[in-house]
């Protein structure tokens, strides 16, 4: 099975000395399901996820998302401090942050449109336009670079048939270059939506993409 090495992503795969499962490494059983309402208020600002499912028309905010938004607001001494968590939440729902989304968030927090646009455009993680079901961000900074990150990036582009920053024709993949992801001991480090895939070499790329395709089909 070509993706055997991905039983332990987020790991130093080439040392061969580990016996933990992927769930152990990622902590997925420990964290359980993501609560849509944000869980305890102390953690509500920290829970945005990058999801496969994106709805650019999703309302800001309703139901459990409104609850999460209110919890976020309760944790800061000033309304403005909720801006970045609110933009994160908007992106979780809609997949990207359009100028209209920025204006809606501005209205929710009583901030000016210009101010919110200034903030939203400062931060790299806000997708200013729609991205594929999987946003694949390849670290090409120094520690990954000297271990072949440029080849990994090239392989992702080749196997998805895309250009940097463009989305594949089936809507599945957008490939981007990322700055250091703090996984330097596990080169090349690749962030795919909310997950890290590490120790990725150019030859592993087809297996990674196959796995993602399977996850879409499984309704991940």
């Amino acid at each position: 099975m070509s993706d055997a090495r991905f039983r332990n992503p987020g790991w130093a795969g080439n040392t061969g000395e580990f016996d933990l499962t992927e769930a152990d490494v990622r902590g997925s059983e420990f964290v359980g399901e993501q609560p849509l309402d944000g869980g305890h208020p102390s953690v509500a600002p920290s829970l945005p996820y990058m999801l496969v499912k994106k709805d650019p028309e999703a309302p800001l905010f309703e139901g459990p998302y409104l609850e999460r938004f209110e919890k976020i607001r309760s944790r800061y001494p000033m309304a403005r401090a909720a801006l970045i968590p609110a933009l994160n939440l908007a992106q979780e729902l809609r997949g990207h942050v359009s100028p209209e989304t920025m204006d809606e968030v501005a209205a929710l927090l009583g901030l000016s449109d210009a101010f919110v646009r200034g903030v939203a455009t400062f931060y790299t993680m806000y997708n200013k336009r729609p991205v594929g079901r999987f946003l694949i961000q390849v670290c090409t900074n120094i520690s990954c670079n000297i271990r072949g990150a440029d080849e990994v990036l090239a392989a992702f582009l080749e196997h998805t048939g895309t250009e940097l920053g463009e989305t594949s024709s089936d809507g599945d993949f957008t490939i981007a270059e990322a700055e250091c992801l703090a996984g330097c001991g596990f080169p090349t480090c690749v962030q795919i939506n909310s997950r890290y895939f590490e120790d990725v070499s150019a030859k592993d790329v087809p297996a990674v993409l196959e796995r993602l395709k399977r996850e879409v089909n499984d309704g991940f």
Binding site: G10, A12, T15, G16, E17, F18, D19, L20, R26, G27, F30, V31, G32, Q34, G39, H40, S42, V43, P45, S46, L47, P48, M50, R75, Y76, P77, M78, R80, A81, A82, L83, I84, P85, N88, G118, V119, F122, Y123, T124, M125, Y126, T140, N141, I142, S143, N145, I146, R147, A178, E179, C180, L181, A182, C184, G185, F186, Q191, S194, R195, Y196
Partner: protein, 430 residues
């Protein structure tokens, strides 16, 4: 052996729970002596807590190495205004990957550290500023924090002491500069992550205009151990000027890259050769960046006798920074890597200060020109000149952080630059 990064000679204080999923729970952490540090702090009082950390000699692990106890003592002693503790978990210095390991394996170690720090500075609220990319590790920390609230370890009346300490997890959205302490404060307040002029220092005017202290994840994670065992205990490791243990993040051309915990002062070559299994494929060492990409590059010769402590690396002409040891073998194209670093700093410059905004961009273009074989020898002088103008002329040290690798690489690997400029030869290019 569950965790691959182990070496029998390690001193495992911070990394004891790495690779052990049980350490993520309150019960698992308590079984390892967890929450005894904060219990002792609450027992001996705020002043004595600061004194204990002062006695340990613990220095900030985020890169600057400022004594933690001293930093805490700058906070006002009265409680007329709210105080805030900010934990800097915006780990984004290239080459650094230690905080993520602490967060995802031992979240309670950080939570307990936040409690100790908050108590010491009289803060009723601690914000942990996590980088936005840390979705998975943040979820682990979030679940652990929920459990800590359920157990009465955080929140109102911490462990029945009558002291209230709230912790809130806050995530950023991708900006290296938010790891700079005043940039972090700006970002936490919902603004662009632009650093601020100091003074006023955060202890006077910090987050939300209130007295604040900013500590790195690894710094805070060390404090429960210091409180539990005492400052003198911590000094059994390390050197007089750099006490204690430290996570060394080794990346690049070594057989077993990873996080290894050793007393400060550990010999660099022993770390590379013995612990990390040396340089693979029979290659030779060419260069090391010892403290994350923002410090001067060292040649193989500089590394020979270098102990990994703040004063030791400084004496060897660089800085320990956050002890992120990036190892490069003799196939490494130094010009390309310096250009890649320059591109990073140009991308991450917040744009407030002209020497940084312009300097990082122009340095990148000149380095690209040299890499493409269109450079001249005058370009090296221009790079040095730009770098000098980028040093000490801006609000924060982002531009200095690029100037250092540029200047040191031209000093130490001038032949690599000249080979490209004169003959179009890329040294080390595959």
């Amino acid at each position: 052996m569950a965790y691959p990064y182990r070496h029998e000679s390690e001193t495992r204080i911070l990394s004891r729970g790495f690779g052990d999923p049980a350490a993520r729970t309150v019960a698992g952490w308590k079984a390892m002596g967890g929450y005894e540090g904060i219990a002792r702090a609450l027992e001996i009082g705020r002043e004595a807590t600061i004194e204990e950390v002062k006695a340990s000699g613990l220095r900030g692990r985020g890169g600057a190495g400022f004594p933690t106890g001293l930093k805490w003592s700058f906070m006002p002693k009265d409680a007329r205004r709210p105080h805030y503790l900010l934990c800097n978990a915006d780990e984004s210095e290239p080459g650094t990957f230690k905080d993520r390991e602490i967060i995802r394996w031992t979240p309670h170690q950080l939570i307990e550290g936040c409690l100790v720090g908050s108590y010491a500075i009289g803060a009723a609220h601690c914000y942990v500023y996590l980088r936005g990319e840390f979705f998975e590790s943040t979820r682990v920390l979030a679940r652990a924090l929920e459990e800590a609230y359920e157990e009465g370890l955080v929140g109102t009346d911490v462990m029945g002491s009558g002291v209230d300490i709230d912790i809130t997890l806050h995530v950023g959205a991708g900006a290296y500069i938010c790891g700079e302490e005043t940039g972090l404060m700006s970002s936490l307040e919902g603004r662009r992550g632009e650093p601020r002029v100091k003074p006023p220092f955060p202890a006077a005017v910090g987050a939300f205009g209130m007295p604040s202290t900013i500590n790195n994840v690894e710094t805070l994670a060390a404090t429960p151990h210091i409180l539990r065992h005492g400052g003198e205990w911590y000094r059994q490791w390390g050197t007089d000027k750099s006490p204690g243990t430290k996570l060394f993040c080794v990346s690049g051309h070594v057989a077993k890259p990873g996080n290894y915990e050793f007393p400060l002062g550990f010999p660099m070559m022993e770390l590379i050769e013995d612990v990390c299994g040396g340089i693979p494929n029979g290659r030779a060492l060419k260069a090391v960046i010892p403290g994350g990409s923002s410090v001067p590059i060292m040649s193989a010769e500089d590394c020979r006798e270098c102990p990994l402590c703040y004063e030791g690396v400084e004496a060897a002409g660089s800085m320990l920074g956050c002890a992120s040891v990036i190892v490069m073998d003799d196939t490494t194209d130094i010009v390309k890597q310096v250009r890649r670093m320059a591109y990073f700093y140009a991308h991450e410059s917040c744009g407030q200060c002209t020497p940084c905004r312009e300097g990082t961009t122009w340095a990148t273009r000149i380095l690209q020109r040299i890499e493409d074989g269109r450079g001249t020898e005058d370009d090296l002088d221009t790079l040095i000149e730009i770098s000098e103008q980028m040093t000490g002329t801006t609000i924060c040290v982002l531009s200095d952080s690029l100037a250092m690798p540029i200047i040191s690489s031209i000093e130490k690997f001038r032949d690599d630059y000249l080979a490209l400029i004169r003959r179009g030869e890329r040294v080390g290019a595959a």
